[in-house]
Subunit: 270 residues, 2 copies
């Protein structure tokens, strides 16, 4: 089954458009976890056990694991093994290279790390993204408009036929031959999200930046969802992961995740 | 010492602008290496021993190691340990994320993997690149114009004040406050290299794409070098690594590297 269809099915089955970003930060973990051999893995295990029924996907940002070298590599592998089969794994690596090298990254992400989907960077163009699209059952979310201040440096540049991020959305719609390509659009730009949805009506959109980064949930859903109230994934990290740092942290994270899931469903069904 | 100055010093001391890309491909290694526990590490060891006096840097593309998971992680670590102190290590990961996450990648690259320099992708703008620039002794090469066909998709788009790659070069010149930022420009676009050199006169330029990808060495050097015949690194992988696949492969790679180094010096000094 094509990834984008598979994603829709998972979201329907779980009745959830919420993805949690498993971006564990040593400085923010509950202090008592520091006694474990791998505090991050232990933290992820608790979060996964407490929230797996509430989410359609976990997003794993590779930066948070690579910073610890081989130990981080191991922690990422273990974390992925802990994720139940009915939840998708989005490896957020934002990779891209010339085709020959992108093919190696695709192998790393999909075969070594068993990802269901990845994020990629569009700057190098079609042949840098194509190797990630090879298997129609595996998904690719291409950066379009990011939630950080630096998005202004290049993504908003006017190009004659629309701003750069609009060109990226337009190319993504054209490159989606196998039904497995989507976009990443920060929740901090609700107005532009509407334009992107018009340019690429059929593509799923991964929306980070809600919560800590100040994105607007209601606007993101109203403008980002397709006419069935689907095709958007809201990905939240810090405001769920660090809901508390005491012994009950996992239960508090579950409460925060449930609130977010319910709020998403309330908005999209209203 | 600022990285860009350090790079110039290494190039002068070694009398070389050549970097070898240690991108070992299992399918292309000399077959007898398959008996070793880590054929890639063994291959790299032979190449490093045979060529370290001829190069200013080794470029390590992380894709080629990540494809093997934890084993690849280990192989990359060992390879880096084998590189002598007088040769720079360029980790070619083309990473970039929002600042908070880029800081983790910078930690991975510079502290965990002991890189002297990295490559980054400009799409997310200034705050995604800034964490890599934090330590002035460590270098950053930002993708500007890449050697693959997909470069045409976005990098050549006209933006009102120049094409996208020209804007990237102009921004890089402005962001180079600590003397440690450079650019990546494929050797397949000699004409554009001249423009980039004019936009960013003081920045070192890493030039891949000579050899297998068909870039032009003479034009790349004449148009890319500064007025002292410096500030260009020519990075070559396949045509040196796979000069032969017999027992004498390392000696053949040395011959190919020496020829390339001498040819570079002949052109830049003529």
């Amino acid at each position: 089954m094509e990834f984008n269809e598979r994603l829709r099915e998972v979201c329907r089955k779980k009745n959830s458009l919420l993805a949690i970003g498993l971006d564990g930060d040593l400085e923010k973990l509950p202090p008592f976890l520091m006694d474990f051999e791998s505090p991050i893995t232990e933290f992820n295990k608790s979060i996964i056990n407490a929230t797996a029924d509430l989410v359609c996907a976990y997003k794993i940002n590779t930066a948070f694991y690579e910073q610890f070298g081989i130990q981080g590599c191991r922690s990422m592998k273990k974390t992925i093994e802990l994720i139940p089969d009915d939840v998708l794994i989005i490896l957020d690596g934002k990779r891209a290279d010339i085709g020959h090298s992108s093919a190696k990254y695709a192998k790393a992400m999909f075969h070594e790390h068993k990802a269901d989907a990845v994020t990629v960077n569009p700057y190098l163009g079609h042949d840098s993204v194509e190797p990630f699209l090879f298997d129609e059952t595996k998904g690719v979310f291409m950066l379009c408009l990011t939630s950080n201040p630096g998005a202004n440096d290049f993504q908003f540049l006017k190009t004659g036929k629309g701003r750069l991020f609009e060109r990226v959305a337009e190319r993504a719609a054209a490159w989606n031959e196998k039904g497995n390509l989507g976009l990443v659009v920060g929740g901090t730009y609700a107005g532009e999200l509407k334009q992107i949805r018009e340019i690429a009506p059929g593509l799923p959109i991964l929306i980070p930046g809600i919560g800590t980064q100040g994105g607007n949930l209601e606007k993101s859903l109203r403008l980002g969802c397709d006419d069935k109230g689907e095709s958007v994934i809201i990905t939240v990290s810090r405001s769920i992961l660090y809901a508390s740092d005491d012994l009950e942290f996992a239960a508090k994270s579950r409460d925060a995740a449930r609130q977010m899931k319910d709020e998403i469903n309330r908005i999209r069904k209203s």
